[in-house]
Symmetry: C2
Subunit: 532 residues, 2 copies
């Protein structure tokens, strides 16, 4: 059965979305939060209503069959899934649509597209599945040297090419979507075990290019640590690194391309480290009096060397919003899993760490505990969340998230400063209070990765500006308080002003020089990370 195509506006494939019940529950909650009876409803324009400029370039004959300038393709490759993308999409603004979308069938065609782009002085925008929430795949070329834009969609590079059971590794093409990777690994009883929230609609290459974070809280969860070697097509040729379990030979070549967000080359395939599928599990939810107590429990576990698969905490409001709690306490979603051995000793000690900070288990020990109770409610809400946004923006509801990381000793003050600044910005931008909640997505011995969600009621016609003021205030606050502008969402174009404050100036100079060495014409994803 052929899969339906991806929506040109919204999350997932055509025909998918929130159920009527889910939508109604979400809207009820927002009506109560904002104290309104109804919302001002708008719909996004139909594909046929979207005006596009004439394409400025045409592919050479040899690539014509792998390229399209059809409206659907161009519209569906204009935006990712950030709030700003939705706000411009619902307003019908598609000025930055690519001139051509290329769908190469193999690495040789990727190189051919790069050659064509070089000849045409066209921007080349690597595209996985378009789930960027930071403007990472928008063909925005105003102010650059580029005369046109090509979106390079890697969906046909969709195979697990080779599996090495002994070393537990696989050679995987960059355009494979998450579920297709796991489906191809399952017969080998192996898993990449990398499950970002975007899992269904994101690709291996996108994960590597953006330093994606999986949903596991500790240890081998970041794509950075799962990469064994890379193949990258640059305008000056191919980069191929060695398959090595470890190496100390100079600065890691892989680490230069991991997180390069398409500005240094097009990742075409990687050898990835795999894991055995989990056979043993234990976990459940733990209640804490408040978020800061829960954070201290997390710190104890993170510093104990136990490495839980999950160790997230939700503040009381976020627990309430996701159905995981009644709003009176903070919730920790705690889980251990192993493909090798029972994990009772591990969870037992972790629960002791929780108890030291007043944490009371809701239920524990069940193998499926992570799918039941509060943990299960939260898990379900987590997976469905991306579908909500396209429905909320039609009601002028500004619902967005941002994420960061900070060391433990600054966390409490940091959390307070960022939450306060964001709440104030919501009042200032929209004229009424909203809500800011927090959870942890990842935890390290030296600090957590706090993930903030905010909700505000905006006004159609003014959404982009209202959101921008809130986003700016939140970003300013977290940079001023010592955090990172992104822990796993990447920089793209939207985080540039704050990334520019965060990264050392001489590192930017070095990165710019490195880019010129592999992309002398400045064609690759201009505007992302650095200006040429």
């Amino acid at each position: 059965m052929a899969e339906r195509r991806l929506k040109h506006f919204g999350w997932g494939r055509e025909g998918e979305g929130l159920t009527a019940e889910e939508e109604s529950a979400a809207l009820d909650r927002y009506r109560r939060l904002f104290g309104v009876d109804r919302f001002d409803e708008r719909s996004p324009p139909a594909l046929s209503e979207i005006a596009l400029r004439q394409p400025r370039i045409t592919p050479p004959p040899a690539l014509a069959a792998s390229c399209s300038s059809e409206p659907y393709d161009r519209v569906a490759h204009t935006y990712g899934k950030s709030f700003s993308d939705y706000a411009r999409g619902i307003a019908g603004l598609y000025d930055n649509a690519p001139d051509v979308v290329a769908y190469p069938h193999n690495e040789a065609e990727v190189a051919a597209v790069a050659d064509w782009a070089a000849g045409a002085q066209a921007a080349l925008i690597p595209f996985g599945a378009g789930s960027s929430v930071v403007g990472g795949i928008e063909p925005a070329i105003d102010g650059t040297q580029c005369r046109a834009a090509i979106s390079l969609d890697l969906r046909h590079l969709n195979r697990v090419v080779e599996v090495d059971r002994t070393s537990r590794a696989a050679r995987i093409e960059a355009g494979v979507f998450g579920p297709a990777i796991e489906a191809q690994l399952k017969p080998h009883a192996l898993t990449l075990r990398h499950f970002p929230q975007s899992f269904e609609f994101s690709t291996l290459g996108g994960w590597i290019a953006t330093r994606s974070g999986g949903h596991f809280a500790t240890l081998y969860t970041h794509i950075d640590d799962l990469v064994e070697s890379l193949r990258v097509v640059t305008p000056r040729g191919l980069v191929q690194t060695r398959r090595l379990p470890g190496s100390g030979a100079g600065p890691s070549p892989d680490r230069l391309f991991i997180g390069s967000e398409g500005i240094l080359g097009v990742i075409t395939e990687a050898w990835m480290r795999l894991q055995d599928r989990p056979r043993f599990r234990a976990g459940g939810a733990v209640q804490f009096a408040d978020f800061l107590s829960a954070a201290r429990g997390v710190r104890a576990i993170a510093q104990a060397g136990l490495y839980p698969a999950n160790c997230r905490i939700l503040d009381p409001q976020e627990a309430h919003n996701t159905g995981a709690g009644d709003g009176s306490s903070a919730i920790m979603v705690l889980a251990f899993e192993s493909g090798d051995h029972p994990v009772e000793a591990w969870i037992g000690r972790a629960l002791e760490c929780c108890a030291d900070h007043g944490g009371v288990p809701e239920k524990s020990g069940s193998a499926d505990a992570h799918r039941e109770g509060a943990a299960g409610m939260w898990r379900n809400a987590f997976i469905r969340m991306p579908y909500a946004r396209e429905r909320l923006i039609g009601r002028a509801i500004i619902a967005d998230t941002f994420e960061t990381a900070i060391t433990w000793e600054r966390f409490e003050g940091f959390h307070n400063a960022v939450k306060t600044a964001t709440e104030a910005a919501i009042r200032e931008a929209t004229g009424r209070p909203g809500q800011v909640t927090c959870r942890f997505t990842h935890v390290y011995p030296d600090g957590p990765a706090p993930y903030f969600t905010f909700h505000a009621l905006g006004r159609h016609g003014d959404l982009l500006s209202q959101w921008g003021r809130i986003k700016s205030a939140a970003s300013e606050a977290l940079i001023a308080a010592g955090g990172t502008i992104t822990h796993h969402h990447a920089v793209g174009r939207e985080h540039r002003p704050w990334y520019d404050k965060q990264r050392p100036e001489l590192f930017a100079a070095a990165l710019r020089a490195a880019k010129r060495a592999v992309d002398p014409q400045g064609l690759l994803n201009p505007g992302v990370l650095i200006d040429p």
Copy 2:
């Protein structure tokens, strides 16, 4: 009590070395190995016998008090501790002695020395404690644009400046030697827990610059993973990265400087991730029929997600040479430790993994097992080994090591190819058989880091060439078979021919460009990693 100064030739401080018993036992073993009754003995020249060129530059008045051109300083900063260094040292060849050794007292003086170097077009060679085994600190400027050479010794940057108990991190200056770091952390009940074999005579900055590997076999043992943030003085100014437990904001700035071996800047301090001091330990030695069975046991443990502190294997000959075994079986040195919880569940499962491959524990469960029995014998030999080389070369004994990493599915063939090529090269270069042994120093789920030791009997006057032929053959073999030219010894100048084959050409172009951005005159450690 003032510490004695470091030897100008040999390992450690003046007056330290092998005991007569240790030396006699080692020589007995070599007599049996090579079938000789006596060795042709030579001594290294005394300091006063070493001829040095006149210094080509003089420091500016403001730096004069922090600089020296005394013979001891210049001689002691000419070489590291590679075989080639010893071979040239014993022959009295000190053509590459630095003109001046600078001992800055703080970061401002480091910057002042860099400014002076820029004005004088002098090479600037960052120097920690001089334990490089790859020619990483030799002021070799022939063929470069540099007109003189300054060795920049960071020994006065020797403080743990700040300790953050909550996040378990410390701000540490780059020039602190290993024992001084631990001594300063001990009152806080914290440890960096990074113990390379060179621990006593190497520094934090050197570890970071060379991607040092600690002696723990798994997980947080590489310096790469322990760095939270860096300060680096470059000729164009200071680089300061943010203290973050994790970040996904572009390619990691830290990872560009980690492993940069002094070519991008002088690391002056770092925030480092610490750990609680271990309170719980279990371990001991496990015997296996042969090395390959032991390797399969290691693979099982590495893929089980148990993360032992130690999980090294020694082949039968290496076990015999170090006193850990009788030569009839391979030995695994296995240990778990934790600052938080008993580790019985962990060691219990690891021993099951061993048993699956025929591994029989010698003794286990004792808290001090790692200091007793075969494990203890090996540990002692490991710590004393560096002192042996200065005594062996005087007898024309070529004893050296090299290390690499490879994925599991290629390991057995790789091991055979490298061992065979090295043995053949020994016969070809010296006219008689020698010995090549192997152990693992680090293990990963996807492969081990094999560490080879070789022993050959050379001839005074020809040692450098004989060693070079063996080293080249071994390096060619491991590169041809897919390994890395170094897992944790670094590239320096000696590994360049094989590193040049290993790293992608376009990565070298990017690194070269990055270097020009921060070191436009090409002053920093010329010849290391890349040519300007």
